[in-house]
């Protein structure tokens, strides 16, 4: 059993880290990693918004007028040479974006009409047009971007960060996952697994409907008082045994039961969006009680506010192949944008006015890009784009990211990168860097070798740092 003074020491340390001038990440991590603190970490928490299925960023941020010119003409031959596509067959035709684009923000970046709210915060985000991956199927590409490897079994970025930096809240998990859109991401729970790290570090899924955490609610008929009585007897009997056999593991168990008890209160409290003023709910377009992406953005803010290290949002339904009305680019991409655009912008504005944006890194993106060609699978008359690993756009905001910049470029067809390519490992290295961690040093030994999030690659993208 920890003595009260030990517990206090722990708390004081936490308190210090939480409130030290440099912020936890920068000071503690850099110092304790034995590195000269090249630069203080800016980010303390991450909110990572993953659009599962991968949005067509050619129709949102990477404006290619040339595609309009070539609309429905056979694509240039060299786009097909040595290429393997998930679904495209024969000689596909170019698909110009059916949506209107305009310039926004001081730097005049292009945004389509589908994302007016994001466009309105253009000056607060860094747009990266030159992301690329080497996977063109959903599950492996999602695994690559979240775990650094296209196969199952590696820890997710949130698990790595939790392992490296720990948690700052005694009553909440340090790595929380929220899924919306009706499905889990294609790669399943592995994208928030702890892989070979101890399970302590795995993402804890807060669910949209029903209990926010599995088995959180007391059984029927049991109230707080009844639970307290049970835990009191449990602690008493456990302490009797602890006295007899002396195993400190029993102390941990007693403590974990108490944490579970606190979580039963703190998690519903954190998840209770009813506590937000009407104005905030409207900003996000949140609707307490419903399962929605907007609710999750608001919840994410409430969680980082409470010291949660990593909040991972997955929103499913972005896979617009155009095989039918359900994945038609023309109707479904606008629908998904309507569900998400306002909340993403609201998150940035809300974090900013609370002074949290500086220490919270917000990341937005899918697992790969989409082809500039129309898929026309089996002669489909609906519009859609196939999977495309060579380039895609993501944006980042807050947490030490340079605001209002554009990084990287693609060619006039949006098919290949022409400037400043950023591999997903580079993105990971950069995220870790923003949290004050050298990605080559955050390692774990497993099956005879050191593993890390960025595998054997990754370069910090300095152009994105404020």
């Amino acid at each position: 059993m920890h003595t009260p003074s030990q517990l206090r020491a722990g708390l004081t340390r936490r308190h210090f880290l939480r409130h030290s001038a440099l912020g936890l990440g920068g000071f503690a991590a850099a110092e304790l990693l034995g590195m000269p603190p090249a630069r203080p970490a800016r980010a303390r928490s991450v909110i990572y918004i993953h659009l599962a299925g991968s949005p067509s960023t050619l129709d949102l941020f990477d404006w290619k007028p040339r595609l309009r010119d070539l609309h429905m003409q056979p694509c240039p031959e060299d786009l097909l040479r040595n290429e393997r596509f998930a679904f495209l067959k024969g000689h596909p035709r170019i698909l110009g974006s059916p949506f209107r684009f305009a310039r926004h923000g001081a730097a005049g970046g292009w945004f389509s009409e589908l994302v007016p709210h994001t466009a309105a915060v253009a000056d607060r985000i860094a747009m990266v047009h030159s992301l690329w991956t080497d996977q063109f199927n959903h599950a492996p590409a999602q695994l690559l971007i979240h775990t650094g490897a296209p196969r199952f079994g590696r820890p997710a970025m949130g698990a790595w960060l939790h392992y490296g930096l720990g948690s700052e809240n005694r009553d909440l998990p340090g790595f929380v996952v929220l899924t919306s859109g009706g499905h889990a991401p294609d790669a399943g729970k592995s994208v928030w697994g702890s892989g070979f790290l101890p399970t302590l570090h795995q993402g804890v899924e807060f669910r949209s409907a029903g209990e926010p955490v599995l088995y959180l609610a007391d059984p029927p008929g049991v109230g707080r008082a009844a639970r307290r009585r049970s835990l009191d007897l449990l602690a008493e009997l456990n302490a009797v045994q602890r006295e007899r056999h002396g195993d400190p593991e029993t102390d941990t168990r007693i403590a974990q039961y108490e944490l579970a008890f606190r979580m039963q209160t703190s998690v519903p409290e954190a998840c209770d969006l009813q506590r937000e003023p009407r104005e905030v709910l409207e900003l996000y377009g949140a609707d307490p009680g419903q399962a929605s992406f907007a609710n999750h953005c608001l919840l994410a803010r409430r969680l980082v506010e409470r010291g949660v290290r990593f909040v991972q949002l997955y929103d499913w339904g972005w896979d617009s192949h155009g095989t039918g009305p359900r994945d038609d680019l023309l109707t479904q991409l606008p629908r998904k944008c309507r569900e998400t655009d306002r909340a993403c912008a609201a998150l940035i504005l809300d974090l900013e006015r609370r002074g949290l944006l500086e220490e919270t890194l917000v990341v937005w993106g899918g697992e790969f890009g989409r082809t500039p060609m129309n898929e026309e699978r089996n002669g489909s008359v609906f519009l859609g784009r196939d999977h495309h690993p060579h380039c895609f756009t993501m944006w980042l905001a807050g947490g030490g990211v340079k605001a209002g910049v554009t990084h990287g470029e693609t060619d006039e067809l949006g098919y290949r990168i022409t400037k400043d390519p950023v591999h997903v490992h580079d993105l990971q290295a950069t995220i870790l860097h923003l949290l004050g961690i050298d990605h080559t040093r955050l390692t774990y030994r497993f099956q005879g070798r050191e593993f890390r999030l960025t595998d054997v690659a990754g370069t910090v993208v300095h152009g994105l740092l404020a």
């Binding site: 517990l7 722990g10 340390r13 936490r14 503690a28 304790l32 679904f87 063109f136 199927n137 599950a139 079994g153 490296g164 930096l165 720990g166 948690s167 340090g174 899924t179 499905h183 889990a184 991401p185 790669a187 399943g188 101890p198 399970t199 302590l200 804890v204 669910r207 955490v213 599995l214 088995y215 959180l216 609610a217 059984p219 008929g221 049991v222 009844a226 639970r227 009585r229 049970s230 007897l233 009997l237 456990n238 009797v240 045994q241 056999h245 002396g246 195993d247 400190p248 593991e249 941990t252 168990r253 039961y257 499913w316 080559t440 390692t443 030994r445 099956q447 005879g448 070798r449 050191e450």
Partner: protein
């Protein structure tokens, strides 16, 4: 999750610490400092070095150099021309001259470099991935050099070649040390333990009381607790053979196979779905039942090996040995659109190579897929030579999972036979009717009969007929040529290779075929020293919570050396000499004085040996996920003891199975299948059963040698709130009310059912006081009492008020959550 700095966490971190992985260690300290109150403990796990003894290169020195130096001064790179993994090269030194001068530590620059003393550059450099050497390690190098830097193995062949790593050497016949306390040891195993304890100045713990040993051994051999009746009978049996009789009874129990299969299923990455994105259900339980049965009939480990690797190629192959090959059909298949079947077929073969070497040889070979192994003596070419053994099976990542063989259950066979009999009777009637009606008969008259017969045939043909996924070798004309895959990519085939085993390991059996059967014979060969060491270590880990080689997954130079090398070899040779049978080995261990010790942590031991590596006390470890469930069901009387059969779907929360592109539903099982043992729970890789995941069960996507044990609040939420456990508490409460009278007796009954011991007076007092509080509280709210006690439409236990049942449900719930209940102690 917030870390309260519990010992589990400290221990997990210490493991890293001890292995001196620089960055995580520091990170670990960062978190430790942030969240755990006693960082000093992180330093306390090292076991004091034994008194100055002759150093062995392979045991003492090579692991240090391998960790800290081989990355840059090893087989793949020789910075400054210096190579330290071979004797001649190491003594020659690098471009700047010798670094090791045998017998003269002062002139050995190696020491100055690792100390960073005398103005020389510290090695490994500060930007290296590995941290500096510890003072102990430097002291070891110093005294080894002082001893003349002997570079030999046990057998004394001081060749220029590497002294072979200890794990690859033949298993010597080890004589047990002479006992220091003549009355303590019960068999030779104990002599090894005692000798080490004496060397450390420790004494063993007193024997655990009979009931504690009974609970421990019953959980260890069957994964289930003893019944109160078994416990009282054993406590009352003073006979000299009482312990032996218990062990023999447990080894003969059908639940023995279930318990030991649990470990093998993790190694085999057994699951009921195919993995990857679609993760379709697949029928693998016939293989799972083969494993349970193999353990129950104590199939010798060599045969166990051969049947699983190549049961289809045996001269005496039969359905059973073919089902055994399902071991390697547990690899994942990917039938997502647009995927290249060859890519995932190759991924499956790679997984077979890695899993075989992990499960049997304790060797982590994965890195040789892309390049020569940096630490262990395996080249990339050798990797693909092993790959070649597995590269000619007929399965090819196909959506239909071919090849499969029909493997109907007896019930299915019976059912079809019954349908066939009806069909035959109909045929007879049809015949007779046709005859009676004569040639002029009107076909229309007989049509209903013909329809009935056709219907019956269709019913027969479509009746359930389980099949099993099996390995099957391609015919000669369709054999694939294996090539080295550059950087491990299936798109970059290089030079062709032929099937062979790594040169550093024991030789390929003479005359054996160069196919999977040959590989199986090589693994099972009596000349293989590694497989028995790995196998007995696994058994040791299951019983004591930690292997003699802690890194059960890595017996290579980067792994931990054994804490008791002689004991490991003694057990391995007993195992081999005993015909590779597991049951006699277990019998020896669980009857030993070592295993019988009390697990209480006496003063001093916590400081000296917190992880119990020296075994100065008995084991105390939390139960595995499956057994946490089994025990709650067993104590409450709900457990269905049926062995084997299709996987079942006990209650789980809605929405866990939320997998893309799949309409598969979790259909909660009914009747006894709600309460089957944990290992029969349907295992979907993308969404494994959540309450087991909370207790560290893996997803089964890949071979897992060792489950990391955590202690988290999510576990508390499971055993307090999961309806499975609430139901168990309700059932246990009813048992107490039915099976005993009066509070004291009922409390005692609860202790016997859950812990197999009587309560101590202080425990009884606490429980009595709690019952009084519970009664008062529940009496005030009958509706809540009914809900909690599960008294909806249920018949009320005779003469019991709802408040009374609720009070006992609360007590039962506490018993099912006791640390002692969740722990084998």
């Amino acid at each position: 999750m917030q870390q309260d700095g519990g010992p589990a966490r400290l221990r997990a971190r210490n493991r890293l610490h001890n292995r001196a992985v620089h960055a995580p260690r520091l990170l670990a300290l960062a978190t430790l400092a942030a969240a755990a109150p006693c960082p000093a403990q992180g330093e306390a796990t090292a076991i004091p070095a034994a008194a100055a003894r002759p150093h062995e290169y392979a045991r003492d020195v090579r692991p240090i150099l391998a960790r800290a130096c081989f990355e840059c001064h090893g087989a793949t790179r020789q910075k400054k021309g210096l190579r330290l993994d071979r004797r001649s090269a190491a003594l020659r030194g690098g471009r700047d001259g010798p670094v090791i001068v045998p017998g003269d530590p002062a002139r050995s620059r190696l020491l100055r470099h690792v100390e960073g003393a005398g103005g020389v550059k510290r090695m490994p450099p500060p930007d290296a991935k590995v941290g500096p050497l510890t003072a102990d390690e430097i002291a070891t190098l110093r005294s080894w050099i002082a001893q003349g830097a002997p570079w030999t193995d046990d057998a004394g062949d001081a060749g220029d070649a590497d002294a072979r790593h200890w794990a690859y050497r033949p298993i010597p016949r080890v004589a047990a040390p002479v006992p220091g306390v003549p009355n303590w040891p019960r068999n030779p195993l104990d002599h090894f333990i005692l000798a080490r304890l004496h060397a450390e100045g420790l004494a063993p713990s007193p024997e655990a009381d009979r009931l504690a040993w009974l609970r421990r051994v019953t959980l260890d051999l069957t994964g289930l607790p003893p019944t109160p009746e078994e416990a009282t009978a054993f406590a009352a049996d003073p006979g000299p053979q009482a312990y032996e009789a218990v062990v023999d009874r447990l080894l003969a129990s059908p639940h023995y196979g279930e318990r030991w299969a649990r470990i093998w299923l993790d190694l085999a990455r057994y699951a009921d779905s195919s993995g990857y994105e679609r993760d379709q259900p697949r029928v693998m339980w016939r293989w799972r039942d083969w494993v349970i049965d193999a353990f129950n009939r104590d199939l010798p480990y060599d045969r166990f090996t051969i049947e699983q690797i190549a049961g289809d190629l045996l001269p005496d192959a039969d359905d059973r040995t073919r089902i055994a090959t399902g071991f390697h059909r547990n690899t994942m298949t990917n039938d997502e659109g647009g995927t290249d079947d060859e890519e995932f077929r190759v991924a499956a073969v790679i997984d077979r190579v890695n899993t075989t070497m992990q499960a049997w040889m304790g060797t982590t070979l994965g890195c040789a897929q892309c390049h020569d192994h940096k630490y262990d003596p395996f080249s990339q070419r050798e990797y693909y030579q092993l790959f070649a053994f597995f590269n000619n099976t007929a399965d090819a990542d196909r959506a239909d999972e071919a090849p499969r063989m029909p493997a109907p259950t007896p019930e299915e066979v019976q059912h079809r036979a019954r349908l066939a009999a009806v069909e035959a009777r109909l045929a007879r009637v049809l015949d007779e009717s046709a005859r009676d009606l004569g040639v002029a008969s009107d076909a229309a008259l007989l049509q209903p009969l013909r329809d009935a017969m056709a219907g019956m045939r269709q019913r027969r043909e479509s009746s359930p007929w389980t099949s099993a996924l099996v390995l099957e070798e391609l015919p000669a004309e369709r054999r694939r040529t294996t090539r080295i895959l550059e950087k491990g990519s299936f798109l970059s085939p290089g030079e062709p290779v032929r099937p062979d085993t790594p040169a550093a390991l024991h030789p390929f059996p003479e005359g054996a075929p160069r196919d999977r059967l040959g590989l199986a014979l090589w693994l099972a060969s009596p000349a293989n020293p590694l497989a028995p060491r790995v196998a007995v270590n696994r058994v040791w880990e299951a019983l004591f919570g930690r292997g003699l080689v802690e890194t059960a997954e890595d017996f290579g130079v980067q792994g931990e050396p054994p804490t008791h090398p002689g004991l490991l070899d003694w057990l391995a040779s007993e195992f081999v000499d005993g015909g590779f049978r597991l049951k006699p080995l277990l019998r020896t261990i669980v009857l030993s004085a070592t295993y019988r010790q009390s697990s209480a942590l006496r003063p001093g031991l916590r400081e000296h040996d917190p992880d119990n590596r020296l075994l100065a006390r008995g084991p105390r470890v939390r139960l595995d996920a499956e057994f946490v469930r089994d025990n709650a069901l067993a104590a409450s009387g709900l457990l269905a003891r049926k062995v084997g059969g299709p996987s079942v779907m006990p209650p789980q929360p809605d929405g866990v199975w939320q997998v893309v592109y799949s309409g598969d539903q979790w259909t909660t099982s009914r009747g006894e299948d709600r309460h089957r043992r944990g290992l029969y729970t349907f295992w979907r890789r993308s969404a494994p059963y959540p309450s087991m995941v909370a207790f560290d069960a893996p997803s089964r996507e890949y071979c897992v040698v060792r489950r990391v044990r955590t202690n988290t609040p999510l576990q508390a939420l499971v055993t307090l709130n999961d309806p499975v456990y609430v139901e168990a508490a309700q059932a246990l409460a009813r048992r107490l009310l039915h099976e005993a009278h009066g509070d004291r007796e009922r409390i005692a009954r609860g202790f016997w059912l859950c812990l197999q011991r009587p309560p101590h007076p202080d425990e009884t007092a606490a429980a009595l006081a709690a019952l009084a509080r519970e009664r008062a509280a529940w009496a005030a709210d009958e509706a809540a009492a009914r809900a909690f006690a599960g008294l909806g439409c249920d018949v009320q236990p005779a003469g019991q008020e709802p408040g009374e049942v609720a009070a006992f449900t609360a007590l039962a719930g506490v018993l099912l959550n006791l640390d002692e209940f969740l722990t084998k102690g």
